[in-house]
């Protein structure tokens, strides 16, 4: 393998890792866009999606496509139920209270998954075969292309939803100013419910499509959430395109770092990049500075 081939392989690896991070980061953005809070149970939605898919395909033996949509639906409902049970009953929730509630939810989901499915690590068959695609001496898995495609579609849908539909705009209004939004007739609580359902659904999608590559167990959500959150911050919280771009940056930095410098330092390299960007642009790469000032968090 010459240097050129290696470089290409590192890029492919970076794209694979970056797509996984980006997909997880998207889920953070939605709840943040609608409520201004960080949902620390986001990683658990990802885990639930992956585990549900494993359960439906491997144990109930449903066809792939059916399980895919059913898993997303179930996790979306879990997200909505969580909002109704834990967030909705609060009279005047502060951002901090809400975030702490999501921490509790994360522990609960993790424990529930552990009881339901045990502690083993599971895998899923890739959507379209395991045979790697060879491009100029470097290889990429078909599953990575699935992740990229689904991520692209998700981002496009989100941009459309938040930019061009009334509901989407109403959700953004709630995040900007709760009181003002309810004064103009927006049902803030419905919007919060919707945002939790939506981000649970996107988290589940992420979980399902990354499991064939990254494997899944009840504990894996937390680690994915940490990386996903860093990526969301780097991209600018609330910016979906930013999340994708930042995902690729971190992923490629990690893989080039591992390839050319030392695999021991790859996380450090990615972290240094994150810190540098945040020193220069505290609102993230594509985050809006003005909007950041309105936020409490």
């Amino acid at each position: 393998m010459n240097l050129g081939d290696q470089l290409l392989q590192y890029l492919f690896t970076g794209i694979t890792i970056g797509a996984i991070y980006g997909m997880v980061a998207l889920g953070f953005n939605i709840i943040y866009s609608a409520t201004g809070i960080i949902n620390l149970a986001q990683g658990e939605f990802v885990m639930l999606g992956g585990m549900m898919m494993v359960y439906l395909t491997a144990i109930i033996k449903l066809p792939m496509v059916v399980s895919f949509f059913l898993s997303i639906l179930i996790v979306t409902m879990i997200g909505a139920a969580f909002e109704r049970a834990a967030i909705h009953p609060l009279k005047s929730p502060s951002v901090l209270t809400l975030i702490i509630i999501t921490v509790a939810a994360s522990i609960l989901f993790k424990g529930g998954a552990m009881f339901a499915w045990g502690k083993h690590t599971f895998s899923l068959p890739p959507f379209s075969g395991e045979k790697p695609i060879s491009v100029l001496g470097a290889t990429i898995l078909p599953q990575t292309l699935w992740i990229l495609g689904i991520m692209g579609a998700t981002v496009a849908l989100l941009i459309f939803f938040f930019g061009f539909t009334l509901t989407g705009k109403a959700m953004r209004a709630c995040a900007a100013n709760r009181t003002a939004a309810s004064l103009v007739g927006i049902n803030v609580r419905t919007m919060v419910l919707l945002s939790f359902a939506l981000s649970a659904g996107i988290g589940a999608t992420a979980g399902i499509i990354i499991t064939p590559i990254a494997l899944m167990n009840y504990d894996r959500g937390t680690m994915l959430a940490v990386k996903g959150f860093s990526v969301a911050v780097l991209g600018g919280l609330g910016s979906n395109v930013g999340a994708v771009v930042a995902g690729f940056i971190i992923g490629i930095m990690e893989s080039l770092g591992a390839g050319f410098i030392s695999s021991g330092y790859k996380d450090a390299i990615a972290l240094v990049v994150l810190l540098l960007v945040l020193f220069i642009r505290p609102s993230g790469l594509l985050g809006s500075r003005e909007r950041a000032e309105f936020k409490k968090f």
Partner: protein, 393 residues
């Protein structure tokens, strides 16, 4: 008169009491029933029952519960019921330290079995050393017992022996240049040290030395580097999910060189999770997983077959070597309690001088210089064939 009579009665009573308490006529020997309810022998067990190493801690916990029931059903240890107090570490060093302190000060256990992981074991060593409580760890890292700490023992086979076995197998197959890839966890780190230290002795050259985070999702970058090197084989030293992802990534990159794994691969579920990518993986392992292929006159056969049968019947899941480490640790402590009673110091001395103890991990021979008790012969090289573990030919 009265006074004299009182003295006489007092002396007689005193003599009777002394006779009853000590000597061949003592009530302790004649009527053991009088001691009832006998004080329970408390043994602590610290396992990573939940958290990232739950797959280690769960079979260990199950095994501990199974042994507790079994011993108490058979009348306890010399009439004393056995109480195993299980604490969950979540695989975390801080929690492990808290659990160990609680077991020592609050429960006043006689000995501790566990923790499950190398890193957490290293964290509690200073505590048990100071409190003078015997600890039998279920973690594999060499540094747990090298240099020897008076109160610390361990039951899993040594990392260094696993590394020697891997290198010997390589030599037999004419491999002289290898790449190593290890996780940056306690276990992976110790493995890396051993692999690097032992390579020159066994005339193996390490041509690539890569690491990855224990939670990483993709190792193709590191493997690409290895692919570009002259390596004739890869040794991966980690636990799940890393050890499965490495196998899958090697397949993705079309790498045909053999993949060796550490003894951490000892659970058939991993081979199943890896699927096709898992075929042909070679790893050193205790004989528990290959008990069916063991000849009947092998000294471990009986112990292994019994443990496997009982565990699988009780928990309806495949036995793993990790539960076996807990079995060995607890049975050693129970043997010590049976022999020397509830005395931490004597238990320690007994453990240190235990010879020819047949466990699931091998035949243990402890000595003041060796608190691990096993040699490299405790390992068998296994490989994955059609989704099953078989002895490597």
């Amino acid at each position: 008169m009265r006074k004299k009579g009182k003295i006489v009665v007092g002396v007689v009573v005193a003599i009777v009491i002394v006779l009853l308490l000590v000597g061949p006529l003592s009530i302790w020997r004649w009527v053991p029933m009088l001691r009832k309810p006998a004080v329970a022998y408390k043994v602590g067990a610290i396992f990573a029952v939940t958290g990232p190493a739950a797959w280690l801690g769960t079979p260990e916990r199950n095994t501990a519960k199974m042994i507790e029931q079994e011993v108490n059903k058979a009348g306890g240890i010399n009439g004393h019921p056995l109480e195993i107090i299980i604490e969950d570490t979540v695989g975390d060093a801080t929690r492990t330290v808290t659990a160990a302190k609680k077991l020592i000060t609050k429960d006043e256990v006689l000995a501790i079995v566990g923790p499950s992981r190398s890193g957490t074991t290293m964290a509690v060593i200073p505590i048990v050393e100071e409190a003078k409580v015997p600890l039998v760890s279920c973690a594999a890292a060499e540094s747990i017992v090298v240099p020897v700490k008076p109160w610390v023992f361990k039951t899993p086979q040594k990392d260094s022996d696993a590394a020697v076995k891997i290198y010997e197998t390589m030599r037999e197959r004419g491999i002289s240049k290898t790449a190593i890839i290890t996780a940056t966890s306690g276990f992976g780190d110790q493995g890396r040290k051993q692999l690097k230290k032992l390579a020159p002795e066994l005339e193996i050259e390490i041509v690539a030395d890569e690491t990855y985070g224990p939670d990483d999702t993709d190792m193709t970058a590191q493997l690409t580097k290895i692919k570009a090197s002259e390596a004739q084989a890869v040794v991966n030293w980690s636990i799940v999910p890393g050890q499965v992802i490495v196998a899958k990534n090697m397949r993705q990159l079309g790498m045909k060189i053999p993949l060796f794994q550490s003894h951490g691969f000892g659970n058939i579920k991993y081979a199943q999770t890896a699927g096709e990518a898992g075929e042909g993986i070679i790893f050193p392992c205790g004989r528990l997983l290959a008990v069916d292929t063991l000849s009947d006159d092998h000294p471990q056969k009986e112990v292994l077959a019994k443990y496997k049968k009982e565990y699988e019947a009780k928990y309806e899941e495949d036995v793993s070597t990790f539960g076996g480490h807990a079995w060995d640790g607890l049975q050693l402590v129970i043997a010590a309690l049976r022999e020397v009673g509830p005395d931490r110091e004597k238990i320690r001395d007994y453990l240190e001088n235990t010879k020819n103890f047949v466990g699931t991990g091998g035949i243990f021979n402890f000595s003041p210089e060796d608190h691990s008790g096993l040699t490299k012969d405790a390992f068998e090289m296994l490989t994955v064939k059609n989704g099953k573990f078989v002895v490597l030919e």
